[in-house]
Amino acid sequence: MTYYNQSLLGLPGPTVFYTALYLLALVVHWWFVSYILAGTVYLTATTFGRRLAPEDPRLTDPIRETLRDWMPFALSAAITAGVAPLLFLQVLYKRPFYTANLLLFHRWMAILPVLIVGFYLTYLLKARRADRWRSWPTSVIGLAACACFGFTGYSWSENHLLSLDAGRWQQIYASGMAWHRGPVILPRVALWFSLAWPGMASLLALQLFVMKAEFTPHRLARWPLAGLAAAVVASVWYIIADRIVRTVAMGSGASPWLFMFLLGVAVQIGAWIRLYKGHSLTKSLAAWAAAGFLLTALGIAGFRETIRVNGSHFRVLFDDHAQAARVGGFCVFLAFAGLNAVLIALCACVVRRGRNASP
């Protein structure tokens, strides 16, 4: 295959349909994952090696406290939101995804116990009594949580890249090695990790706005700005590191996604710079930051899929997608999705009203 100009929109209808659902679900999942990934690193970094005195301002810092308080819920949300892209991933890329799972075997399955440990560590990070502990236990808990989530993220990248590398499947299977290396894996992980910072900050900004929390704006803004700068560097590294990525990036199929990515980055930079310069957090600033992040995430996710659909073994899956699209149940899904969205909104209203009414 020498041309890498296949656009996602040029694919057959069922494939486009499932890809669109997959991308939307993935972006929502990724938003919560960003909160976990960058949030845990932030919590660990701000208290690493230091025991906080009762009067330490960090104990009342709304950024740190909000992250700490919401971390377990965010992880729950990330896992629940992750079920949807995992489902559509199986509809779209059954054979490559399953094969990568099987080849990585226990290395891949290890993400489950690791995530369970990580989940409980977020509860430990949240516990009030942790403030009274000496510095090393909290540092160890923080580092361990970072390691758990970092390992999970790395494993997903490894799995994804292996699923694209059909030419090596048999060789890896015969050798019995349960891992996959390549020139793209590190820049790819670096890119996603860099983007986790604006993702975390945009979700946090929405929370802080809703909670009407008082905080120093530039202390929040510096993290996503640093993350975006790192993301630009990592994306250049990513493109340089692999010939196929480079070729796809230069083809017409990837242009709309790269444009979306760059536009999202620009919108975010604009929003965060205003906050960094001391502008207070307004509804529109929080919304711009969030919209910018979602645009960036959708752009990079779309680019990722463009690379995948330009793979030589992708076309054989079109029939599977068409067959899946003929299966019934979509209307029932839509009806219950709508009903449950209303119930979720009602839950939020009930809680809000209860909170406002309480003294």
């Binding site: 079920v83 059954k94 399953y98 891949w108 899946a324 299966v327 149940g329």
Partner: protein, 474 residues
């Protein structure tokens, strides 16, 4: 449709079915605890709001914390783990399930979202909410949790009794299959029972409660054990909804399945008797240790029941559609000619040090056809099952596999591969010596094996008419 090849991993002495079974039991138990827990909490909230049970509110908040810490963490992740494990064990089965029911799964996912939001809303804010608001969140949580059971139950029961789906391929014909309702109701009662027993444990470990308060709470929680009286009837209904051959294995045809059924019934009976006479009739107090013991018994009952449900599907992973080894019935005939290892990219794994190519082929046949349910010499090991047989016995019993044991699928390979796996079992039973005399197969032996394969046919065994036909053949 061509046979999709996937890498096949080696689990050593551990049977693959045990791996997925163990995780499945753990996940089902925790998930059912959360489902029944929602209903139980609605009851306690109602008691608290009406002032009928003063300590109910304190218990309620403690109980919900347990649900959040156990079910929202381990339950959620083992749920995802079930998908990953199913991929490891039988990618083709889970792939087909996703293809057919992805919208059902997507619908279930919307209920997961509702469950998480309502659950965390209660967990974080219940202390500040009115009784009406608390009840609203708990009812929403309970409904969401129960509906997640409703959806997944349809998919799981379809594997055993696909019903009219086999002819129509209509998703709802498959979803509302013959075992859907008995299975759903049985699981609902099980969920309520587990929640009630877990409540007795939590009550004993909730600090600040006096003996009188604990006693009051225990007897209120015990009301949720009363639906257990319906379990025998629901169990019988479930058994009768099964295909006849599956039922016959459970009821004596397969000693292991009968044993597991006995375990499930016995453990449930012990819980039921204690609940009816001890807790409900004599109003005995139950301490933490006894409550924990009853929860353990419930886990044993669940384990037995899940093993029976999984085992009853044999020789299929999806009845009428896919055998346990992921081969479709219509593919067997073709594989009898082409073999199962020759064109399979994942039948062999590097140089495994076999004395000759025949044994290497045998190991490939084991990997492709047998390894999903058998090990070499571990749990359900072929060396233990077929090692002591003579070579001719092995040849014939493997060639006529679906009639040797009616819960086995027909052998989906060539005569040469029957010989290869028969020799390979013998070689393993002999302690894997460095040399092995049989390296080539004479035509006469191959001809005999071919004849046995033809006699066995390519259809599954187990029905009376087929067995009769076979016995009447010369």
């Amino acid at each position: 449709m061509s046979f999709p090849e996937y890498p096949i991993n080696d689990y050593g002495p551990l049977m693959k079915g045990i791996v997925i079974g163990a995780l499945g039991i753990f996940h089902v138990f925790i998930a059912q605890f959360a489902i029944g827990g929602g209903m139980l909490m609605c009851y306690f909230q109602w008691l608290a709001a009406r002032g009928r049970c003063p300590p109910a509110r304190r218990f309620l908040d403690g109980y919900f914390k347990v649900i959040v810490l156990v079910s929202f963490v381990v339950g959620a992740l083992t749920g995802v783990g079930m998908w990953f494990t199913a991929i490891q064990i039988s990618p083709r089965t889970i792939g087909m399930m996703v293809n057919e029911f992805h919208w059902v799964w997507a619908t279930e996912w919307t209920f997961f979202c509702l469950e998480i939001v309502s659950g965390y809303a209660f967990y974080r804010c219940a202390a500040r909410l009115t009784d009406v608001a608390r009840m609203f969140l708990l009812v929403v949580y309970s409904l969401a949790a129960w509906f997640s059971l409703f959806w997944i139950n349809g998919i799981l029961s379809w594997q055993l009794t696909p019903g009219r789906w086999v002819e129509t391929r209509d998703v709802w014909a498959g979803f509302f299959n013959p075992s859907f309702f008995p299975s759903l109701l049985y699981r609902t009662v099980t969920s309520i029972t587990i929640a009630s027993l877990a409540a007795c444990v939590v009550i004993n470990f909730t600090s600040g409660l006096g003996r009188e308060e604990r006693s009051t709470l225990v007897h209120r929680a015990a009301h949720f054990l009363a639906p257990m009286v319906f379990m025998p009837a629901l169990g019988v209904w479930f058994l009768w909804s099964m295909p006849e051959d599956s039922r016959s294995w459970i009821l004596g045809g397969s000693p292991a399945l009968t044993l597991f059924l006995g375990l499930a019934i016995g453990a449930s009976l012990l819980i039921g008797l204690y609940a009816m006479f001890g807790l409900l009739y004599q109003r005995l107090y139950i301490n933490g240790a006894t409550a924990a013991l009853l929860v353990s018994l419930a886990l044993v009952a669940s384990a037995g029941g899940e093993f029976v449900r999984e085992g009853a599907r044999k020789p299929y992973s999806i009845r009428e559609v896919l055998y346990s080894n992921s081969i479709a019935p219509q593919e067997v005939e073709r594989m009898r000619l082409s073999g199962c290892t020759l064109n399979n990219a994942y039948a062999f794994r590097g140089d495994e040090g076999f004395p000759n190519p025949l044994l290497r082929t045998g190991s490939g046949v084991f990997r492709v056809l047998c390894s999903v349910c058998h090990t070499i010499d571990g749990i359900n090991g072929l060396v233990h099952l077929a090692g002591p047989w003579s070579i001719d016995q092995r040849r014939m019993n493997i060639a006529k596999l679906q009639h040797t044991k009616t819960f086995m699928p027909p052998f989906a390979g060539s005569a040469w591969e029957v010989e290869a796996v028969a020799q390979w079992i013998g070689w393993n039973a002999a302690g894997r010596p460095e040399t092995w005399p049989a390296s080539a197969v004479d035509n006469e032996t191959l001809h005999q094996i071919k004849q046995w394969l033809d006699e066995a046919g390519t259809m599954p065994g187990g029905t009376r008419s087929k067995l009769e036909n076979l016995s009447s053949s010369p």
